[in-house]
């Protein structure tokens, strides 16, 4: 079946089997391997990508169903080659990852949260990432990373302290 996938701002036409999941299409056809295959039945959240800004399980969506949506993967989060987004930076600084398997999904989930809520409470951060499983159980640093990123992103457009 023919499908046009708009991923990280660029549209690509693909011929896929109807049964191919969006996750497999992203990984195997578009070579965007940041979305990870974990449980492949919608429980672990490792395959999270954003469609029109909302987090979804790419293992539970067929590629042909994704036609026309704006899809964002972890590869589309950084502002430029070799750079990191404030959220990615915060995950590095707070050691918000151990094995890294859940990390792209955690960062995309945080991205969606902070886009709608620039100052989330700890409870709201926990609620947002409750859909994503970290088997290293490094949740404390992940929550810390999201809080740090939120704080920095809120300050981005503020005048520096002490400036007249």
């Amino acid at each position: 079946m023919h499908v046009e996938l708009t991923v990280n701002g660029s549209t690509q036409a693909l011929e896929v089997e109807p049964r191919m999941s969006l996750l497999d299409a992203l990984r195997e056809r578009l070579l965007l391997t940041g979305a990870h295959a974990g449980c492949e039945h919608g429980v672990c959240g490792a395959c999270t990508v954003l469609i029109d800004g909302a987090p979804i399980r790419s293992c539970l969506m067929f590629a042909v169903q994704a036609d026309g949506y704006a899809i964002t993967t972890i590869e589309g989060i950084a502002p430029g080659p070799g750079e990191l987004s404030p959220i990615q930076d915060a995950f590095c600084e707070t050691h918000g990852m151990q094995c890294g398997y859940c990390t792209p999904a955690m960062i995309l989930t945080a991205h969606a949260l902070l886009a709608g809520n620039p100052a989330p409470s700890r409870a709201e951060i926990v609620e947002a990432i409750s859909a994503n499983i970290c088997r290293c159980t490094g949740y404390a640093q992940i929550v810390e990373a999201v809080a740090l990123a939120a704080e920095r992103m809120r300050g981005l457009n503020q005048p520096a302290a002490g400036r007249p």
């Binding site: 919608g42 987090p55 539970l60 969506m61 067929f62 169903q65 989930t109 409750s130 859909a131």
Partner: protein
């Protein structure tokens, strides 16, 4: 298409239950008919004394919808408990109802409020009450060629209304072992003018507790007398029993959750908002 496909064809909308079942090879449909983009099936609108919601309306939309919040507060209350946010991004109202999981929160609200299910089979339309729609675990009155197209939730116009909902599960947003919902409207004296109560995940289908409703109508739902009434109302219920929760546990949990739901609804109707989840 669905009639022509026979038992090998299935409708798919959000796919949040069907696709996991396919991944586990518990469902092996030869054909999937995607109805997610049929615009006429996604809507929320006022229809007289009801709010009608289209079957493919996504759960994340209902979670934020102003009409739902104002006119079907019980539905608004349970939406955050339906799966996790990424599931609600894709999952639909009709998908959850047609799936008929005994633990589903939306199904509990449909039965508790006495919603009307609107179905289509080929060219024929039919309507049936939610209580008759659910016939067993993961089983509905729909034939394999029929499609749930929408639901009408009755709107209570009473001046003072409160709702309550509680559930217990192993982890946040997992399947509930027991759940309870309550909606109470007050009369001018501040007593229960009318109320509706239901329990979910306890029996094969969500169950409305008519006898308990009648017992509490006109009263002030005093907490001291509530436990006795609730326990008595659940005495003839035969709960499900499985690895996660025994029948006895489900009965006890349902009683406690129901008391909390009633108390929350009562307080909310009296303007004492409870922040307990």
């Amino acid at each position: 298409m669905l009639s022509a496909g026979g038992d090998d064809a299935r409708l798919i909308a959000g796919g949040q239950t069907l696709v996991p079942l396919m991944a586990m090879r518990l469902a092996r449909p030869k054909r999937l008919i995607d109805i997610a983009r049929i615009g006429e099936l996604a809507f929320v609108r006022s229809e007289g004394d009801a709010v009608a919601i289209g079957a493919t309306t996504r759960q994340c939309v209902l979670e934020r919808d102003g009409l739902v919040r104002t006119h079907i507060p019980l539905l608004a209350k349970v939406m955050p408990f339906v799966g996790h946010a990424p599931i609600r991004s894709r999952g639909t109202l009709g998908g959850s109802l047609a799936n008929a999981d005994p633990a589903a929160e939306i199904a509990l609200v449909a039965v508790t409020l006495g919603a009307t299910m609107v179905c289509r089979d080929g060219g024929a339309s039919a309507e049936l009450p939610a209580a008759q729609f659910f016939t067993g675990p993961m089983t509905t009155a729909l034939s394999s060629s029929a499609c749930l197209t929408g639901v009408r939730f009755p709107v209570w116009r009473d001046a003072r209304i409160g709702v309550g909902f509680h559930e217990v599960n192993a982890r946040r947003s997992d399947f509930a072992f027991a759940s309870a919902a309550a909606q109470i409207a007050l009369d001018d004296d501040g007593a229960c003018a009318r109320l509706t109560l239901g329990i979910g995940a306890v029996t094969a289908v969500p169950r409305r507790l008519d006898a308990l409703e009648q017992m509490l109508q006109g009263t002030r739902a005093e907490e001291s007398k509530l436990r006795e009434a609730v326990v008595a109302a659940l005495a003839d219920v035969e709960p499900l029993s499985d690895l996660h929760a025994s029948a006895g546990y489900r009965r006890r949990a349902a009683a406690s959750l129901l008391m909390r739901a009633i108390t929350d609804a009562w307080r909310a109707a009296h303007g004492q908002v409870s922040h307990a989840r």
